[in-house]
């Protein structure tokens, strides 16, 4: 537990000491949303159909960019050997980094959500349901994304490869469920109406947190 905490603190310290990275993710989220706002400028903005795709695509792409460096920087800064030699289990490294990136992505999402309601004039939907889908969807995609980030940190073109490896797995799982649940929420549904999607997102998150916990040894020692 102490090891997880130490990794978690180290990650956040690295992330926030170098302020330009966080600012870049926020800027990217802002730019993606702005692009959508202009691309859809001829649409009826009160139509709720475009809400869910716009929100989730912004979150997925900005979020995935923030996941690229979490293992890559250990390789770039030659700190990976030190991390592997430290007398802590590798799974603690995975969990610590996962928690830190979850915190960063949640921050990114709150920022995106605020901007979203400024750019697209929707009435506030059922916020409890929206936050549930957002949190569970994020858990799933960050759990998977950080495993793939560990893999892609050892590949050439790490940034592109993260996307190439993550999107096929996310496409018909998290993207599909999260977008369809969010569409229903913007259409007026509550938590009860989307409980199947919510359960699926929870299962997905659990499966990939467990996978990362079990397979991180193989990845880091490859």
């Amino acid at each position: 537990m102490g090891a997880v905490g130490a990794i978690f603190q180290k990650e956040l310290r690295v992330e926030f000491r170098n302020k330009q990275t966080i600012v870049t993710y926020l800027l990217l989220a802002f730019l993606i949303l702005t692009s959508f706002r202009f691309a859809f400028s001829s649409f009826d903005k009160t139509a709720t159909e475009i809400a869910a795709p716009v929100l989730w695509i912004t979150i997925f792409f900005a979020g995935m960019f923030s996941l690229t460096p979490i293992y890559k920087r250990e390789v770039d800064e030659s700190t990976k050997e030190g991390l592997l030699l430290a007398p802590i289990p590798h799974s603690a490294v995975y969990v610590g980094k996962l928690l830190a990136s979850l915190l960063v992505v949640f921050g990114l999402e709150l920022f995106t959500l605020m901007l979203f309601f400024v750019f697209f004039p929707y009435d506030l939907p059922n916020m409890a349901a929206l936050m549930t889908v957002l949190v569970l969807g994020t858990l799933g995609f960050v759990a998977l994304g950080s495993i793939i980030s560990a893999i892609s940190s050892q590949l050439s073109q790490a940034g592109v490869m993260l996307m190439v490896l993550t999107i096929p797995v996310l496409l018909f799982t998290v993207v599909l469920s999260a977008v369809s649940a969010t569409s229903e929420i913007f259409g007026g549904a509550g938590l009860d109406d989307i409980n199947q999607e919510v359960r699926f997102l929870a299962v997905f998150a659990l499966v990939f947190i467990a996978t990362g916990y079990l397979l991180i040894d193989f990845i880091l020692e490859a």
Binding site: I151, S156, V164, L171, F200, V207, F208
Partner: protein, 228 residues
């Protein structure tokens, strides 16, 4: 000739006979379908390719697991060979499907159809697997990282299936594939031969590809020795 080579030759010959036989049955012997006509003949190649797509994927997954257990590069050769052939057959299935669908359904692709989406996921995962391998330098890392990704890909299949089931419940659609159920005489034997032909062809190609991978490893070893 060593045993491996003999088995390989046997599979190549059997698959050649079966493939020619399968083409004859599908193209000439079976009468045109009662409702779909000649377009239906693509069905034999389509179903057989899709079957190999799934088989190849399972073989890649299984041999990857064995590799992770044993750390023997031999198993990684089987995994990558099966994946490469799998991409070819999945591509064939994905290309022949829309040819039939355009004639019968009037559109190339149906985004509501579970079977189509699962094949698409399989294809994307396979391609990502090969893209991963292309971007690693060291032989060991390549094998290990690819094995880990194939486990993730395998998990993705049932999860995609479940998510699609939930999604189609709230977006009810007609099950499109019901139209193909009318069986004309001769369809079943022709299909069985086609499936066997593709299976033998897959095994023959797999043995050839594994042989090539083995030679590649041997060449790399020799290069290292010469370098010393």
């Amino acid at each position: 000739m060593e045993l491996f080579g003999r088995i390989r030759l046997a599979f190549i010959l059997i698959s050649a006979v079966l493939v020619l036989n399968g083409i004859f049955l599908a193209m000439i012997w079976v009468p045109p379908h009662e409702t779909m006509g000649d377009v239906q003949r693509i069905f034999y190649f389509h179903v057989a390719s899709a079957w190999i797509a799934y088989v190849a994927f399972i073989v890649t997954f299984a041999t990857s697991i064995v590799y992770m257990k044993t750390k023997d590069l031999k198993w990684d050769n089987w995994a990558v060979s099966s994946a490469e052939i799998g991409v070819v057959f999945t591509t064939l299935a994905i290309l022949t499907g829309p040819m039939w669908a355009r004639a019968i359904w009037g559109e190339f692709w149906r985004w509501e159809d579970l079977k189509l989406l699962m094949t698409l996921v399989l294809w994307l995962v396979f391609i990502a697997y090969l893209a991963l391998r292309a971007n690693v330098q060291s032989r060991r890392s390549k094998a290990t990282l690819a094995a880990v990704f194939s486990v993730i890909g395998m998990l993705c299949i049932p999860l995609s299936f479940a998510a699609n089931r939930i999604w189609t419940q709230s977006h009810p659609t007609v099950i499109a594939s019901d139209q193909g159920e009318i069986v004309t005489s001769g369809m079943v034997p022709a299909l069985i031969v086609a499936v066997f032909a593709m299976t033998f062809l897959y095994i023959a190609l797999l043995l050839l590809r594994v042989g090539a991978a083995k030679l590649q490893d041997r060449a790399d070893e020799l290069k290292l020795k010469v370098g010393d």
